[in-house]
């Protein structure tokens, strides 16, 4: 692995971002709107909740955590899409760049871009709506870590789909978080889901995070084993998505798709 080559991928993203409002504004506009919307929603819910139940850490905290995961995913895919949009695959993959370096560069780019959105979310949620992460205690660290890893896995999966199916498949990527959200129980306990959805839920790491959030806020018991399971699943999905990306890249090299990517499908 070459540090310089990873830096090149990150630097490319930085060059594109600086002085480009079209790239910078979406980093915090949507998450900002989400936090404002759910912030007022939770305030409203607090007005008719029984026994002084506070929805801020349950709902707003969960929204923030879920948005964090989505931002990480989109950070990876957006950095990849820059190569798709500028038809840069031939130039970039004809260099000594390794796939592991390329993916590492996309992930670091995502951390860089996502951190802007996360800061905005935290400022709004904590400053305006009184969300405090102290209520989660140290558990907040594994929560973020699991969602970070799962966001990376989803991001690499998105890149894989677009690499395999061509630029038009970008449309498949944006709805992925919305498709996953009902299964992971961002807003409600997984227990209310039908059995078949609960089975899928058990395979998705964020489910363990949101179950944990609710358990901690309600003062219930939360098993560390489920966090370990969530973390293990996240690591597994990162490895799996990396494996599929590599396989898809080799398929693209075999069929000539890398050299003629705009043709979309040569296989």
């Amino acid at each position: 692995m070459s540090f310089k080559r990873i830096v090149a991928i990150v630097l490319r993203q930085y060059y594109l971002m600086r002085g480009s409002p079209a790239r910078i504004l979406p980093l915090f506009i949507w998450v900002g709107i989400d936090i404002v919307l759910w912030g007022f929603m939770t305030r409203y819910m607090n007005t008719f909740s029984s026994a002084g139940m506070n929805f801020v850490p349950v709902i707003l905290g969960a929204v923030l955590l879920w948005d964090f995961c989505i931002r990480i995913m989109q950070g990876v895919t957006m950095a990849f899409f820059e190569d798709v949009w500028s038809r840069n695959f031939l130039n970039i993959f004809a260099t000594p760049l390794l796939i592991a370096e390329y993916i590492s560069g996309l992930v670091v780019s995502s951390v860089m871009t996502s951190s802007i959105g996360i800061v905005v979310m935290l400022v709004l949620a904590m400053g305006v709506f009184g969300l405090s992460f102290f209520i989660y205690g140290l558990m907040v660290i594994p929560f973020f870590l699991i969602l970070f890893l799962f966001g990376i896995a989803l991001g690499i999966l998105g890149c894989t789909i677009v690499l395999r199916l061509g630029p038009a498949a970008e449309w498949f990527i944006w709805p992925i978080p919305a498709m996953i959200a009902p299964f992971v129980g961002v807003f409600y306990p997984v227990s209310i889901l039908p059995a078949w959805m609960r089975m899928i839920s058990a395979l998705l790491p964020p489910s363990y995070v949101f179950e944990g959030v609710r358990a901690i806020v309600s003062g219930g018991v939360f098993s560390g084993t489920s966090l370990v399971l969530g973390a293990g699943l996240s690591v597994f999905y990162v490895v799996l998505s990396g494996y599929f990306f590599t396989k898809t890249y080799h398929h693209a090299v075999r069929t000539g798709l890398i050299a003629r990517y705009s043709a979309e499908n040569l296989g």
Binding site: A94, T95, H250, V253, I258
Partner: protein
């Protein structure tokens, strides 16, 4: 171990797309300081061959060895001292000349990068455009940026797919002179495709004529036409394109 003086060694290279053979058992070598012209009509297999040498297209059979390193086994190492420019692969238009050169310099692991970029900007007369986005440049200026990028890592193997296609005659002549200087001053070898036969005759030490994925003819561009009863390289090219079987059998 005997030092391998060959920059590029291609042996038995094939690329099959289903029943269609895009490249069929192609073998050739490029030596240091040598400019090899890869000629042939559209669809002859030139770009497919170059794509395979660049590692962006996997051969169906055959081997590609760059400075003794097998591309299939050690792709990254083999490509470290290779570079290319092609009319169909412009640099990202949403980055400036300087940004593109910086990024590709890092990807190729160029030492003393700022100094190298400065010298290439001067060499290719790009200083005035260094902060201009590549997409805003004329096609000729973009070609010069692509050539500057191709020279970043002082490649030992330089692949040029129609490098002067969009240049005016004066600029094309300058570029040819620069590439000739590159091979005569350093240790690099060049594989060059062009449809401009005068250019090929002027620049190339040896040419390979490809037709239907096979090497049909090989030799010195100055003597090859007369050896096959043709007036010049252009006539020979037309004959290769129209009557490949006649030449193959002759």
């Amino acid at each position: 171990m005997i030092a391998d003086k060959t920059v590029l060694s291609v042996s038995g290279l094939c690329k099959q797309y289903g029943a269609k053979s895009a490249v069929d058992n192609v073998s050739f070598k490029v030596k240091p300081n040598e400019i090899i012209g890869l000629l042939g009509p559209n669809g002859a297999g030139k770009t497919t061959t170059i794509s395979m040498i660049l590692g962006v297209l996997e051969p169906s059979a055959g081997t590609i060895v760059i400075e003794g390193v097998d591309l299939r086994e050690k792709r990254s190492q083999a490509l470290l001292n290779t570079n290319f420019t092609a009319v169909y692969a412009p640099l990202p238009g949403n980055l400036t000349v300087l940004e593109n050169l910086h990024i590709f310099g890092l990807l190729y692991g160029v030492n003393d990068l700022p100094q190298r970029i400065k010298s290439l900007l001067k060499q290719f007369d790009l200083e005035a455009f260094q902060n201009t986005k590549c997409g805003a440049l004329s096609s000729g200026e973009q070609t010069r940026v692509s050539l500057a990028k191709a020279m970043l890592n002082r490649p030992h193997l330089l692949l040029l797919d129609e490098p002067t296609a969009s240049l005016d005659p004066a600029t094309a002549r300058e570029i040819r002179a620069k590439i000739r200087a590159f091979t005569s001053e350093g240790t690099g070898g060049v594989l060059w495709t062009s449809h401009n036969m005068h250019e090929v005759e002027d620049v190339c030490d040896r040419v390979l004529f490809l037709s239907h994925g096979k090497i049909l003819l090989e030799g010195n561009p100055k003597t090859l036409p007369s050896e096959h009863g043709k007036k010049n390289l252009e006539d020979l090219f037309v004959a290769v394109a129209r009557e490949p079987l006649t030449l193959q059998n002759g």
